[in-house]
Amino acid sequence: MNTSASLPGTGYALRKALSKTTLRTAVLIICFVWTLPSLGLFISSFRPENDIRASGWWTVLETPFEFTQWTLANYEKVITANGLGQTFINSLIVTIPATVIPITIAAFAAYAFAWMDFWGRDVFFALIVGLIVMPLQMALIPVLRLYTSSGLNGTFLGIWLAHTGFGLPLAVYLLYNFIAQLPRDLIEAAKVDGASHFQIFTGIVLRLSTPAVASFAVFQFLWVWNDLLVALVFLGTSPSASTMTARLSELVGSRGQDWHLLTSGAFLSMVVPLVVFFALQRYFVRGILAGSVKE
């Protein structure tokens, strides 16, 4: 065999090195542009109110070690603001069930769509997945009217149900894709072994679907935690029930006059999602890759 013909020459090596450099530069630029606003926000959150109004955040970079320009006042104000602690707890009360409920329902549904034979299966699946394209804004008013008449308005149950409804189509779709790709033999072996559908689901499918479940859990958690619109509509702004996002938007004031508070508030509210993300991160990566490579 003549292998020299296929050996990469110097031209190839050069091109490879060049393309690597180009690639890296491009990635660096994208990362920089992408994180710049967050960085600006982060720096601003440590600047006094008047400085923020007077000059851009980048001006601090000229004299970073001049400590008079740094302050924790914004954080202090936000933390001690009326009822923020309560809204933090409210956010948790809203977010955790609003993550767990849709995932539980979606996992059952995905298994049924993937492995059970029932009348109208394909039609139902198409219907549910088709709802992904429904903008949730369209549903707000009808649902709100329904809630008002049934007394669910302003209750946690109401917002759990709302988030469940809005989250289900995507959850069913994602989990279905994963669960349907589990080896058929495995499900059948369990059937022959004597497992019912419920036992197959809890004993085997659920255990093997951890990556998909975890990655969707992260998505849903972040979405619900950061949600302002749905929370405002269904919970309102009463301190006892409103979420952190709603309270923060109030702090800023109706004309945005206190927006320096938003900077620190944003970083405070980011803490929980970051913890969740890093806790589930290893599943998250696997979940995105799920099914792309045969084991």
Partner: protein, 377 residues
């Protein structure tokens, strides 16, 4: 312990027919192998029996009950899959115990059965491992173990050796045979590999396009294939076929393809009778019934046929010779390794005239079959 009976079973998906009117009785304790090319419906037949597919028509009996509407878990069967289908998140022990746990077997009973099965299969030291930490052969043993612990009435095997390498396959083949002797349970085994079928089966059922072709013992199937398909499928290298006619008289009858002309022995003349003289036939001769003229085994009534060597393949203990007759009909002979044959050589090959299989050309059904080793004994 149970017999299995397929009674006019048909499985169809719309217009696609998987199994076509299959009637097959498998007595208790038999090792039956379902064999056929891929897509012949053998796996479908097995899956119908397992309850993983619903049948379209007919009845399936296990023991003395019809199981058409019985779910897999209540059919008292265990199945070994080609892909092993081990539960990846469970240890070997839990894999084997899973079915027993679902049946609410007492803990000490589970422990006893798993340990016993592990001992039979020699996997006691693997009980704490997860499937991904084991080799293919070990996984297949665990899959066997998972079936054994259940102590089912019928064992089903769906190409269990296909994913193993050649050496391991031979070894596991022997182990499954031993297992059958030891357990004395009905085994139904699906494979596309006729060697597996011949070596393991009590009886072989050959399927093609969902239709049962022939069921019999391996030896009978080999000696007396009922049609051209079975004749070509069982045996390796495959039987040589020639297209020709029956000529001559009741006193001196021949099959003649132009390049190959063989005088038929008395017993085949009797099977054919006068009415078949002139009929167009396909006749077959197995490669091992064609010899090199210098190395003809004793007792063979040979018919010398002129041929040209095309290719030779030395297998060590024998040579496969690819030849062409004067009419360019190709055939293969398995000859003595001492035979010196080179491509291009002209040689008079010795056909064993008592080993000619004759089939009708139109129906491909058997018309006359040679005396077999069974009938001779």
């Amino acid at each position: 312990m149970a017999r299995v009976f397929y009674e006019n079973v048909t499985k169809a998906w719309g217009d696609v027919i998987g199994v076509n009117n299959l009637t097959l009785e498998i007595p208790d304790k038999e090792f039956l192998v379902l064999v056929g090319p891929s897509g012949c419906g053998k796996s479908t037949a097995l899956r119908c029996l397992a309850g993983l597919e619903e049948i379209t028509k007919g009845n399936i009996w296990i023991g003395d009950r019809i199981v058409n509407d019985v779910p897999p878990k209540d059919r008292d069967i265990a199945m070994v899959f080609q892909s092993y289908a081990l539960y990846p998140h469970m240890t070997v022990y839990d894999n084997m115990a899973f079915g027993l746990k679902l049946r609410k077997t007492p803990k000490d009973e589970i422990e006893r059965r798993v340990q016993e099965a592990a001992k039979i299969l020699g996997i006691t030291q693997l009980l704490d491992r997860k499937p991904k930490q084991m080799s293919g052969g070990q996984r297949q043993r665990v899959a066997l173990g998972r079936a054994i612990v259940r102590d089912p009435a019928v064992f089903l095997f769906d190409e269990p050796l296909s994913n193993l390498d050649a050496k391991l396959r031979v070894q596991t083949r022997a182990e499954i045979s031993k297992l059958h002797q030891r357990l004395g349970t009905t085994f139904i085994y699906v494979t596309h590999d006729q060697v597996e079928a011949l070596t393991m089966a009590d009886r072989i059922a050959v399927l093609r396009d969902g239709v049962l072709q022939q069921v019999n013992t391996p030896q009978h199937l080999y000696d007396h294939p009922g049609n051209v398909f079975v004749a070509g499928f069982i045996g390796s290298p495959a039987m040589n076929f020639f297209s020709g006619t029956i000529t001559g008289t009741l006193e001196e009858m021949y099959v003649d393809s132009g390049g190959v002309r063989i005088r038929l022995p008395q017993n085949e003349v009797e099977q054919l009778g006068a009415e078949n003289i002139g009929r167009e036939v396909i006749f077959g001769v197995r490669p091992e019934d064609i010899h090199h003229p210098q190395y003809i085994p004793a007792g063979v009534k040979e018919q010398l046929i002129e041929a040209t060597v095309d290719v030779t393949e030395l297998m060590g203990n024998e040579i496969f010779v690819y030849l062409l007759t004067e009419k360019e009909e190709s055939f293969i002979a398995r000859v003595d390794p001492r035979a010196h044959l080179r491509p291009g050589d002209k040689v008079k090959m010795a056909f064993n005239s008592e080993k000619v299989h004759i089939f009708d050309k139109a129906t491909e059904k058997m018309l006359a079959t040679p005396k077999g080793t069974e009938s001779a004994a």
